[in-house]
Structures are given as C-alpha cells and as structure tokens.
C-alpha cells in the first residue's frame, strides 16, 4: 500500500501535467479526425469515418512507404556513424568526457535552418566543396550534390545525429569495465566481446536513440524541402498540406492519428523483441 502511494506521489507531476496540457489537446485531435471539412475550410460537426477511408489509396500508401524508407535510412546511418562515436566519447578519459559531450551538442544550438543554408552553400554546384575539389584537380566538372536523395540523407543525418549519440553515450558511460576485461581474459575476440557484452548492455541506449531519430524524422519537412528541392512528398508534407494548403483539418488530423497508432505499434513490437533478446542473453 505504501509502495503504491509513493509510486503515485513520484508520478503525479507528470500525470497532472500531461493530463492538462497533452491529453485534452490530443482528445481534440482525435475527435476532429471524425468530423468533416466545412465548405470554406472550417470544421463541420458531421461524424464520419470518411477521413480514414480516404487514406486507403495506393497513393497515400506510397507516400507512407517513402517516408518510412527515408526515416529508416536516416536511423541506420545515424546508428552506424553514431554508435562508435558515442562509444569513443563514453569510454574516453573521464576528465575529457563532459567537454567532448558538450562539443557534440554546441553546433545544434545554432538555428537548424541557418545550418541547413550553410550546407547548401557548401554543397551547391558552384559551392565551396565543388570549387575546392576543382581547384585541387580532383574533378573537372562540378558534382551535382544538391536536390537529390543523397543530399536529403546527409541533411537528415546531420540534423538528427545528436539524438542518436546522446542516449547511446548515456548508456555506454555506465558500462562496467570489469566485464569487458573479464571477456578479454577469457580470450573472447573483440567482436565476440562486443556482441556478447557491450551490445546487450548498451541496448537500451540504442533503442532510445533509434526512437528519437526515427520518429521525429517522419515529421521533418524542411530538410527534404530545402536540400531535396521539395520534389517528393513525404508524410510530413502531406500532413502540413492539409493544414496549410487544402485547409482540411479533419483529414490532416486523421493522417496524424493513424501515424501515432502505427508508431506506437512499432515501438511496442521493438520493445517486446528487446525483452525477448534480454531473456535469451541472460
């Protein structure tokens, strides 16, 4: 009984806050998704499922698919580049750690739009990188680095990078060195040590990192717009367009509700899988 009370006590701030400022607005979102667009773009109180039925269209499915692929690719590249980096920072001499960590986050305190424009200056046809490569004689014709999928990926990777590194850092930092030493003493190869010791112990950091990269990437639209030339429509553009072009709030809300459900299901599956791996390892 006492335990229940203290659980309630410690969780009450978040429950009260989220009830007031999140649950009620969320309820608004869900309820509007069942209404219809008014003649002039307002909301009409006709309860309907039309907004969800409209979504069953190969075109929207393709947009969904494209967005998932881009987010997934961003997540994987963030993980591949970010994990070793987070590991190095997390295992570096203690006195440097904090400053190395701060150095990661500092560039991200500059407005992301400003940084994206800096990338454009860097990558465009007559930009810094091309001029440099031409001057060095490495290429003789400027490379087309912008307004393609590669540029979008670089931009996304750049913007989301700390969201992968920081959670992994937090879990690498607590790694017990003795376990790794023990594995070494038992003649485990570095790869085996990594797979059997390091990876399982930093799993929760990886999970958090992937989550914090994958999900927000689905909602990013200024990178595909600015660096990709806005040539393909992603889920985020589709939702934005419902509010800022078609003025179809109910449909926009319906897409969002579906997105939220889908993400929660994916997160749920990932967590279940994670727990399974847990029980297999130990």
């Amino acid at each position: 009984m006492k335990k229940k009370f203290s659980a309630f006590l410690i969780l009450s701030p978040v429950l009260v806050w989220m009830f007031a400022f999140f649950l009620i607005p969320l309820f608004l979102v869900v309820s509007v998704s069942f209404l219809t667009r008014g003649q002039y773009g307002g909301i009409q109180f006709n309860i309907t499922l039309d907004n969800y039925i409209r979504l069953i269209d190969p075109m929207y499915l393709k947009i969904f698919w494209n967005s998932l692929v881009i987010s997934l690719m961003t997540t994987i590249s963030c993980l591949l580049l970010g994990y070793p980096f987070a590991y190095i920072i997390g295992r570096s001499p203690k006195k440097f750690r904090a400053i190395l960590l701060m150095l990661i986050i500092l560039p991200f305190w500059t407005n992301s739009l400003v940084r994206t424009y800096a990338w454009i200056i860097l990558l465009r046809t007559e930009g810094v990188l091309n001029s440099y490569l031409m001057m060095m004689g490495i290429i003789n014709k400027p490379l087309q680095l912008l307004y393609n999928n590669g540029a979008v990926l670089v931009g996304m990777l750049y913007i989301m990078f700390p969201f992968m590194v920081l959670p992994i850092y937090a879990s690498v930092e607590k790694l017990d060195n003795t376990l790794i030493e023990a594995a070494k003493d038992l003649y485990a190869s570095p790869i085996k040590t990594f797979l059997k010791i390091t990876l399982p112990l930093t799993k929760s950091g990886i999970f958090a990192g992937c989550l914090l990269v994958f999900v927000p990437t689905l909602g990013l639209f200024f990178i595909p717009d600015l660096m990709g030339g806005s040539k393909i429509i992603l889920l985020s553009n589709l939702i934005k367009n419902q509010f800022l072009a078609a003025r179809d709030w109910p449909f926009g809300m319906a897409i969002s509700v579906l997105l939220i459900m889908l993400m929660l299901i994916i997160i749920g599956i990932m967590r279940l899988k994670g727990e399974k791996i847990d029980s297999e390892v130990f």
Partner: protein, 609 residues
C-alpha cells in the same frame, strides 16, 4: 583507464569536422559583405553593428533563451522523477503510461501546435511567453524520460539498498546515490530538451502571442529574402558564448568541489541566465510604457522596421509586429481562436474566406482619408466588392526568369518550360494553386478552373514536366537562379527583380498565356481591441512618403498612385514588379474554390509522390 587509440582519435576528429563544417561556413559568411548568403563579396563587420541595433532580433533572442532555460529546468525535474518512478515501481497501467509518454515524440508538430492553440483559446489563456513555455515543457518531458530511462536500465539496485541499509533515508539515498549515478542521463536528456526548445519553429508559431516572437520564428520568417548575415553574426556570438560557458563550467568542475558540484553548476546556470536576459533586456527594450498597443499580423519581410518606428513615435503607441509565411498559416491561427490581432494582412482569395468564415469586420473608411491615393484598378475587386472588409496593401505577380548565358533562343511562355532541353534545370514555386494554375493557364484555362477533365490534363502535363524540375521552392527560388543552380524558373515578381540585381544574365518574361496576380490587403479581425488605431495605421501607410519607403525596402508593386511619383524609376520600369498594363488586364487572382481544393491537393500529391 586505457589511453585512446589512434583510430578512435581520427574517427572522432572526422565526426567533429562533419558537425562543425556548416558552423565554420556560417561564421565565415557573417563577415561577408553581400546581404545574400550566396556569393562572397568581401570582408565586413557591419552585420555585427547592425545586429546590436536590431531590437526585434535581440528581443527574440531573449525570449528564446528564457523559454529554453525555464522549460528545460521543468522538464528535467518532471522527467527524471517520472523515469525513476517508472523504473522503481511496477503497478497496473504502467505500460499504458509508458506508451502514452511516447506520443509527444510521435505526434506531428503541426498537429500538436494547432491542438494546443485550440486548447489555450478554449481555456482563455492569452498567448504569450507562458503558453510557449507550457508547450515546450510538454514536448520536452518525453525526451528526458526516454533518455533517463535508458540510463536507468541495468542500474544496480543493490547500491540503493546498501545506502538504505546504512541508515540513509530514501531522500538521502535519492540525492546521494541515485541522482549522481543517473546524472549522465539527466544531462544528455536535458541537453536534448534544451536543443529542441532553442530550435522549435512549428509548435512555437501556433502558441506564440503577438509580443513573444522567438528567434527560430524570426529566422524562419526571414527565409523569403534569404537569411541575412545578421543571423549568422548572432549565431557566431552565441557559439562563442556557449564555448566560453562550457570552459567556465569545466574549470569549476575540475576544481573538485565534488558535493557542491551540481549546486555550483546550477547556480552558475541561473546567474548566467539572469545576467544574459537582463543584458538583452537593456539592449532590446526601449522602455515602452505607452498605454496603447497595436498588434499587427503580416507576411514576413513586408514592412520595414523604420516605418513601424515612425508610426510609434508619431502616435505615441507601441506596435507588436508578428509575421506569418503563408495565408493558410495565418488563417489557421485566426481560426483556432484566441488571437489578439488588430490588423491582419490577407491575400485576395483569403479575404473572401475570412469574410465567409465570419472572422473579419467591416472597415470604417471615414478613418482612412488617404484611401484616395490608391489607384482605382486595385479597389472594388471581385473578392471584396465595395471594399467593405479590406483595403489594398501591395500587389505582385509571378513571372518566368531565365539565364541568357545558358539558354539561347526565345522564351515566351509556360509552354517553353516543357522543352526537353531543360532537363533538371527548372525551379518552380512550391505552391499547389500557383503551379497547377500555371498548367491550367498553359492549356488556355483559368487558374481557378475546377473542371475534372481540365485538371486531369494539367496533372498529366505536370507529371511530364517532372524530369525538367531541379527544385520546388517558394521561399527563396532566386537563390537557385543567382548561383546558377537553375537555368530557368517560374517565381514571384519580387524574387525575379532581386535575382536580376545579382545575376545580370537573367531575363524576365511575362508569360503570354496569362498572368498570376496577387493582391494583399489590410483586414481587421472580429474582436480587435484597437480597431480605430488599426485604421489610423492603414491611413498612415497610405501616406505617399511612407508608402514609397515600403516600396524602397521591399520590391513589391505599390497600388498607391501618389507614392508611385516618388518611387525610383528603376523599379517602376521593371516588368517583373510592374508588368505591362495589358498583361495585368489579362491576369487573374486566385479565388477560393471551396471543397474542390481537395482535388488540387490530391493532384499535387500525385505529382510529387
């Protein structure tokens, strides 16, 4: 602890280079003489000087830092408690709470922004710093919880037990054992929350009030004319301050104040926050204590600060000037309610919508004698017969621009864009009505045509055009034309004019098939507190000298005939800004097409899928 090996060091250097590359570029361009962030023209420090005279940017900076500090502190406390609670106890509904806390990360920002806006207006909480802070705390909490929880995972419970066995109270145990152990997680989570808050645009747009603009909102609204080097200068200064701050924090830490460490860092954080905001306050505030406040909502980069200053001085009032970057963005904010604007600028078709949705009120033209300065061809237009609800502000068009050094031969209209020789070289406006409208005009139909057959044809044409398109860009298509990324473009007249100034090879063509026209107008929302003052402001803007001053700052076409007498000939004779009269007569304004917009939206998605 082993020393780092050479590969680790090399890899880290590589990653840090990647992270700092754009920072290096923006620091460099903060010393660039050209206002456009595209070509290096020479060294200057004038942007730093300008920055310290730009009260709007400094004020936005102050708001941003304040919001980020406060919301991070709150979300760290709530988030850490939550993570510890979820980790320590198991109870019914725990899984549910956990999943629920993921939703703020998952929900699209625009949806959350609009939902919060609707909610705040329901509970009658006026939009401002408070609503912004509430919004930021709400989305930050989840990030802190997720990161701290991942740190707690695998946390050795025996340490806590040992502490309790040794007679420590639960409180002592928490502060002396648990907290220090999860500190790296809290710091990581807090840094992410701080970063998110510093950078948030969309949620902030919807939850900001007339006087609480943040820096990202300001930057976002500047995009249309390219982010000015002032922002680069500001970023450079911020970067410098952050580095100094980190060094100070490190020095304090290394002095081994161990138990007091956290306290010291917190105290120094607070001191720095207070001093910076106080300093910025002094720099930004001009000690305004006037009783009357006029809240204006206008397109970004459309009205120079000098005009606002003159109005404030003449009438001894304060103006809160906030901006939007599309009609629909403005409508969303007005529609959700709770907006406190006295004067809103809206384009032609949007005036129609605002009237139909009963969101604006009639204007008392007796208070605007200077309306007589406005040319008759800009009054009494179809979207507001008799100018009951709106009076003109500025107008513009869209035209074709091409680079004569790259394209030989004659360009006369839209049809030329489909020329296979222009593979991957066109920049188009990223606007479904304008572009589908263009394809309709190309086939000889009206831009407001909603006939399914005509739309189908336009769609197929636009799909064929895809291979020729380099990029869609509504914000700053001129950049692509200036730096040679695109050879030909369909852009706003003002953009074309500016592009031509930078790249002399560019030539403007008024498309022979028809002209897209847009007229922006002043409107007064229902419930405006300062209707009379808003009308006084409109009258002030219609002064020929003031009106000409606006035209000098921003190259849009001015409907003020008296002002045209004092506007530079150079711009008056530019066909991109002031297209020939016969073309204007043939031109069309957008109309609200009601529910048919759904087809436009679907076509747009099909073209871009």
């Amino acid at each position: 602890m082993k020393k780092m090996n050479i590969w680790s060091i090399l890899y880290s250097i590589l990653i840090y280079t990647f992270l700092y590359l754009p920072i290096f570029i923006l620091v460099m361009y903060s010393f660039n003489n050209s206002k456009l962030n595209s070509v290096w023209t020479g060294f200057t420090t004038k942007w730093y000087v300008n920055l310290f005279h730009d009260a709007a940017i400094l004020n936005a900076m102050k708001n941003t830092l304040l919001i980020a500090f406060v919301s991070t502190m709150f979300s760290i406390v709530i988030g850490t408690l939550t993570a510890v609670g979820l980790y320590r106890y198991s109870f019914k509904g725990k899984k549910f709470i956990e999943s629920f806390l993921y939703i703020p990360v998952v929900i699209p920002e625009i949806v959350f922004g609009i939902a919060l806006l609707a909610f705040f207006s329901q509970i009658k909480l006026p939009l401002g710093l408070l609503t912004l802070i509430i919004a930021h705390i709400t989305f930050s909490i989840s990030y802190v919880v997720i990161v701290v929880k991942s740190r707690l995972d695998g946390f050795d419970k025996s340490l806590e037990e040992a502490s309790m066995d040794l007679g420590a109270t639960p409180r002592e145990t928490f502060f002396k054992v648990t907290l220090p152990l999860i500190m790296p997680g809290i710091i990581s989570g807090g840094l992410l929350a701080f970063t998110l808050s510093l950078d948030d645009v969309i949620i902030s747009f919807f939850t900001a009030g007339p006087s609480s603009t943040t820096l990202p909102l300001k930057v976002f609204s500047m995009v249309k004319f390219g982010v000015t080097p002032e922002i680069n200068a500001l970023s450079t200064i911020m970067m410098l301050f952050s580095i100094i701050f980190v060094i100070i924090a490190e020095t304090i830490k290394n002095k081994n104040l161990k138990s007091k460490k956290i306290k010291t860092i917190l105290v120094s954080l607070v001191i720095i926050a207070i001093t910076t905001s106080a300093g910025l306050n002094i720099a930004a505030d001009k000690a305004n204590s006037e009783p009357l406040v006029l809240n204006i909502f206008n397109w970004s980069e459309y009205l120079p600060q000098s005009v606002i200053d003159k109005f404030e001085q003449t009438y001894n009032v304060k103006v809160n000037y906030s901006t939007f970057s599309s009609n629909e963005e403005m409508l969303a904010k007005i529609m959700a309610g709770g907006s406190a604007y006295d004067l809103v600028v809206a384009s032609d078709y949007m005036v129609d919508i605002l009237v139909k949705q009963d969101l604006i009120q009639p204007i008392d033209k007796d208070n605007i004698p200077n309306l007589s300065n406005i040319g008759s061809s800009f009054l009494n237009l179809e979207f507001d017969k008799g100018n009951v609800y709106s009076v003109p502000y500025m107008w513009g068009d869209a035209c074709i621009v091409y680079d004569t050094s790259k394209i030989k031969g004659n360009i006369t209209g839209f049809n030329d864009l489909w020329n296979p020789a222009f593979k991957n070289s066109i920049v188009l406006l990223d606007d479904e009505r304008a572009i589908i409208g263009m394809a309709l005009q190309k086939n000889g139909y009206s831009i407001n045509d909603t006939d399914p057959e005509h739309l189908e044809k336009a769609k197929n044409d636009l799909i064929k055009l895809k291979t020729n398109i380099k990029a869609y860009d509504s914000d700053s298509p001129k950049t692509l034309l200036i730096n040679g990324e695109a050879k030909i473009g369909y852009v706003w007249g003002a953009e074309a004019y500016l592009a031509k100034k930078e790249n002399k090879n560019l030539k403007v063509v008024i498309p022979k098939e028809g002209l897209f026209l847009q007229q922006d107008n002043f409107t007064i929302p229902k419930g405006a507190k300062q209707k009379k003052l808003a009308e006084t402001f409109i009258n002030f803007i219609y002064n020929p000298e003031i009106s000409a001053e606006i035209s000098k700052a921003f190259p849009y076409a001015n409907p003020n005939i008296e002002a045209q007498k004092i506007i530079d000939q150079d711009i008056l004779n530019d066909i991109a800004v002031y297209p020939p009269e016969e073309a204007v007569k043939k031109g069309e304004h957008l109309k609200d097409i009601g529910n048919d917009i759904k087809y436009f939206d679907k076509i747009w998605s099909q073209i871009k899928q």
